[in-house]
Each structure stands twice: as C-alpha cells, then as structure tokens.
Symmetry: C2
Subunit: 151 residues, 2 copies
C-alpha cells in the first residue's frame, strides 16, 4: 500500500472508531484522541500535537485528556528538561484487561441476582430468562479464569 493511501485510511479509521466510541459513552473528541493514539504509527503525541490533529481548542483537549486519564485509557510521560507531556495509550497486560471485563460482567450478574431475589414467582418468564443469562455470564467468568491461568 502506498504511504499516502495508508495515512488516509488511518485518518478514516480514527473517525470511524471515534464515532463508534460515542456509543460507548465517550465524548466525540475523547474518542477520537483515543483512536489517534491507537491507530497512528506515532504512538506518543504531545498536548499541542493533539490539539493540532483534532483541530479544536486547547481547553477541549485538556478536558478530553482528563477524562481519558480518569478512565485509565491514556497516560503521559515527561522527560527531564522538557516540560511537554507525551501522551499514549496505557499498555495493559491481558490480566488487567480481562479483569476489567470480569468486573463489568460481575455487575450484570449482581443486578440479575437482585431482580431474581425480589421476585415472588421463581418460575416466571423473566426469571427463567434472567437465570439463563446469568448462567451464561458465569460460564464466561469461569473461562476467563482458565484463560488467565493458561497464560
């Protein structure tokens, strides 16, 4: 693939992932910054470079980066004698990533258990449905453990 074409495709992919991330509750600029740092060959960007890439205001980037830091998605380093911050995606290990997924699954299981526990009729349509979902989620929790142990 030609260099310029690759670049263009990368930019398009950033837009696509940015838009996709909005469904996941990211604000537009935050999602695009995340995508920028994941997609481009350059994997560390300074604050100013990000502002330039995003074509938006400093304040907006500042807020979006705070948000991404809070979510544990990006981090920055500084180098002695250079006051700039170099932002990048936090490189988690697989354990940590699976751990986060497990946490979310556990929340779902908890909610389901609460619903079921408050129902009078333990054989109702919804209880049956919820129990089977819960069972499925627990299956994946078990498999997640196995996956981590076989690493």
């Amino acid at each position: 693939m030609e260099e310029s074409e690759r670049r263009k495709k990368q930019k398009e992919l950033i837009e696509y992932i940015g838009r996709y991330s909005e469904h996941d509750g990211f604000q537009p600029v935050a999602g695009r910054i995340m995508a920028l740092l994941m997609v481009m060959d350059q994997e560390e960007y300074t604050f100013d470079e990000i502002v330039k890439e995003m074509q938006t205001s400093k304040g907006c980037v500042s807020l979006a980066l705070q948000n991404l830091e809070l979510r544990g998605i990006v981090e920055y380093t500084t180098y002695p004698g250079d006051r700039k911050r170099y932002y990048r995606i936090i490189s988690k290990d697989v354990h940590a990533i699976i751990g986060e997924a497990e946490k979310r699954i556990r929340q779902h299981i908890d909610m389901i258990d609460q619903i079921v526990c408050l129902k009078t009729d333990q054989d109702s349509q919804n209880v049956t449905l919820l129990k089977s979902i819960s069972e499925g989620l627990k299956f994946f929790m078990k498999k997640a453990e196995e996956f981590k142990n076989n690493l």
Copy 2:
C-alpha cells in the same frame, strides 16, 4: 421479607438499573421502562400503566417504547376485543443472546485487525497490546461456540 418492603426494593432497583442503563446508551425513560418490565412481578404492562408508573407524558412513553422495540428488547401482544397493548420483555433464548454478544465482539476484532493492518511497525507497543486483546476476544468467541453446542 415483607411485601411492602419488597415492593420498595423493586422500585429502587428499577431506578438503579435505569441509571446504569444510561451508560449503555439508553435514554432515561427507556431504561426505566425496560427495568420495570424486568423487575416487577407483573411482567406485562399496558401503555397506560407504564405512563402511570413512569409519571411522564404519553408521548415520552410512546417514543421510548418505539426505541425499545427497535432494539429488540420489548414486544407487545394484543388480545381480541381489547385494543390495549400489553408490553413485555422479549424472552430470547440463550443462543440469540450469545449471538448478539458475538456480533459485538466480532466488530471489536475487526477494528483491531484494521488498526494492526495499517501499522508499519508490527512490533510497536500498541500492536503488541492490540494483538493480545484480539487473541483474548477470539478465545471467548471459541468458548461461546462450545457453550452453544453444549446446550
């Protein structure tokens, strides 16, 4: 547990799930309607009953229900000689539920593959990270198949 206390806890749970669902991109009223139909002992509500429970306008409930139908979360039945619609949660089988999860996982894998495919340095930090995430996701896809086959 006392009847009145159980009712109260159910109402609280509806609020909780409603709020939680907002993170998943549900509009407030839609999330609470979904929760209502899942949590309460009464598993079918008419349009008017929902309006009363939600303490909001008919229009708002109408739109929220359209949204929930579109997402494949609720459905309604009508009975001969009764013009009312009885709404309930769609009781999917486990196959369908897992199928939906697989679809979302596949989208993530696709995005990751696209990113990796556009990178020059196939040994960069992010590529390493993304490949390991992709591997983990593929593992779960495989397990999902197994789960479905063992049903």
